[in-house]
């Protein structure tokens, strides 16, 4: 598949006259991924324990989104309206936001570490966000305001990212092996802290059970509140990411080159690390730890689009949303009536892919 995608990029690049013409890989990929996202989103709402017809789904969504009165809902039962708009739509939107956030965060981390294996859940950032959220749960802050969840998650994510950055990177570059080892150790340490906190709060079984369930990564019973909690943070993170897309291209060529081509390296690095932590925290605060999304999505896209971030970040957001909505659909429907945890499904795709990439880079790592 790798060779095929790479070949596709060569073909599309050649068709564009080497970047001089109007056609580019992005002009093909972005519409295709957008269409896939629309299809998967409608399917996500239509399919479930109770099936809803496609036309009904589109009619209800259109009626809710367009100004009132444009589309009649008389023909749709109250129950169907509730399933579509109150139960499934928010879940699909949260899934989309989580996917977009994690994919973009992964893309940024790979750029800033100049390391194609960097990803939020692999280098401990998601675990940091989860610890922050666990603290917010246990202290009862969440009960006072749901906003504590993303804020505490952000503090956790940022501290973890800062720590792994300080440990693993030298002269703006984190070698594959060092970054992975530092990230895994840090992730394990943070997870142990979370486990400790959870086991200490086992007096209250219900709270502990809820936390454990959520840490495993899932999107069950997500509501419009969750959309509201995470959407502003995702939007802010995406804006910061896109604003620095060109700087991130320069960073891929090394700090000195980036500086000599006009980038303020220190400022770019701070902004990008901030955005990656923010996006990871926004995702983790509504879905728990959903792993590998930021690895699979940018990697596949980079093969077709190339590493330039202007198009890569936008395409990652769209494809990340598509990927997580599809994984969530699978998690809900593979083994009815029970749901498989979403984190399990993304890991089932992501972990083998990660191992495959690791094997490809075994020379660089120096063992295997």
């Amino acid at each position: 598949m790798r060779a095929n995608l790479s070949h596709l990029r060569r073909r599309l690049t050649a068709a564009s006259g080497g970047g001089k013409g109007w056609l580019s890989p992005a002009l093909v990929v972005i519409p295709v991924v957008s269409a896939l996202l629309a299809i998967v989103a409608v399917a996500g709402v239509a399919i479930g324990s109770t099936g809803v017809a496609w036309e009904t789904v589109i009619r209800v969504l259109a009626a809710k989104i367009l100004p009132t009165g444009w589309i009649e809902l008389d023909s749709v039962s109250e129950a169907d309206q509730a399933i579509v708009w109150l139960i499934r739509a928010p879940r699909i939107i949260v899934a989309g936001l989580v996917g977009a956030a994690l994919a973009v965060a992964g893309t940024q981390l790979q750029g800033i570490f100049r390391n194609p294996l960097a990803e939020s859940s692999i280098i401990g950032v998601s675990q940091g966000a989860a610890l922050g959220a666990v603290v917010a749960f246990i202290t009862g802050w969440v009960a006072s305001s749901a906003l504590w969840l993303p804020l505490a998650a952000f503090v956790g994510a940022f501290l973890a990212l800062f720590a792994v950055y300080m440990i693993a990177s030298r002269a703006g570059r984190a070698p594959v092996a060092t970054l992975l080892l530092a990230g895994i150790a840090l992730g394990a340490m943070i997870t142990a802290c979370s486990s400790l906190l959870i086991s200490l709060s086992f007096v209250d079984w219900q709270v502990a059970g809820e936390i454990v369930f959520w840490i495993m990564g899932g999107l069950d019973s997500r509501t419009w509140t969750h959309v509201v909690i995470c959407a502003p943070f995702v939007a802010l993170g995406l804006l910061i990411a896109l604003w620095h897309s060109r700087d991130l291209d320069l960073m891929l060529l090394g700090e000195e080159t980036a500086t000599s081509l006009g980038a303020d390296v220190e400022r770019v690095r701070r902004a990008v690390l901030f955005a990656a932590a923010l996006l990871t925290a926004a995702a983790v605060s509504v879905s728990g730890v959903v792993g590998f999304v930021g690895l699979v999505v940018p990697h596949a896209l980079r093969l077709v689009l190339g590493p330039s971030h202007r198009t890569l970040l936008a395409a990652s957001a769209l494809a990340g949303a598509t990927f997580v909505i599809a994984c969530d659909l699978l998690a809900r429907t593979a083994n009815p009536p029970t749901e498989i945890r979403l984190g399990v499904v993304t890991a089932a795709f992501g972990a083998p892919f990660f191992l495959y990439l690791l094997r490809q880079r075994r020379k660089e790592i120096g063992f295997f």
Binding site: S6, R10, T13, A14, G18, G19, K20, R114, N115, P116, W243, R246, D249, L250, L252, L253, G254, E256, T257, T259, S260, L261, G262, A263, D264, R302, L303, G306, P307, S308, R310
Partner: protein, 263 residues
Amino acid sequence: MSLSLRNAGIQIDGRSLIRGVSLSIESERVTAVVGPNGSGKSTVLRLLAGLWKPTEGLAELNGEDLARLPREAIAREVTFVPQDTRVDFAFTVRDVVAMGRYPHVGRFDSLGPADNEAVNAALTRADVAHLEDRFANELSGGERQRVLIARSLATEAGAILLDEPTASLDIDHSLETLELLRELASEGKAVAVALHDLNAVMRWADQVALMNGGRLEAIGAVGEVVRDDLVEPVFGVTVEHIRAASGNETLVFHRLQGPRTAA
């Protein structure tokens, strides 16, 4: 165009890399920076390029303190070709060279016709036009070196600084690169280049700065600096002069201790 250091020095982590260096590189001249390993050649270039800020003294571009100029303004005037040419991601050669235009276009703007013109010209001059659709991470070290030179040319900066650009090039491409630097100088650019090969320096440079242990030992025209009484103590060698039939003078170096004997 004038780019200069005034009594400049820099300490990193308490260690002094260079001290009290004053020199100036001018338009239409190739300045070679020479010296043993660790003598501060690369540091001189980095201070001139504004990549590092001097902790004492000043680096100046046309009389203005580099440390006070915005990064993008410096990037339009001064370009740097690093020694580390590693590229980890699959940018096409054209993408890499086009990045030389970034200081000239807005954050979200695409390259205009004039920019593409500059990119094409740079690709051709650095002899990498035939590689433009190849991925930069799949090239040989020498090819990558030339791609980075092309990127620097694409900036159309008035000063071009190169850190040992011939280190990974074969003989033909080394000569071609040095010829290109001469050409750029004759077109009005200020060129500064760190080199190890004193024979190349004699042949291609106008001005030579000789570094030794973080200090500027000598600076001046080639004949004033590449002299036995300066070169021999700094490099710890003896120099033999050979005149070829073509009239070119070649230096042959001998270690002071004599050749190594097999143990």
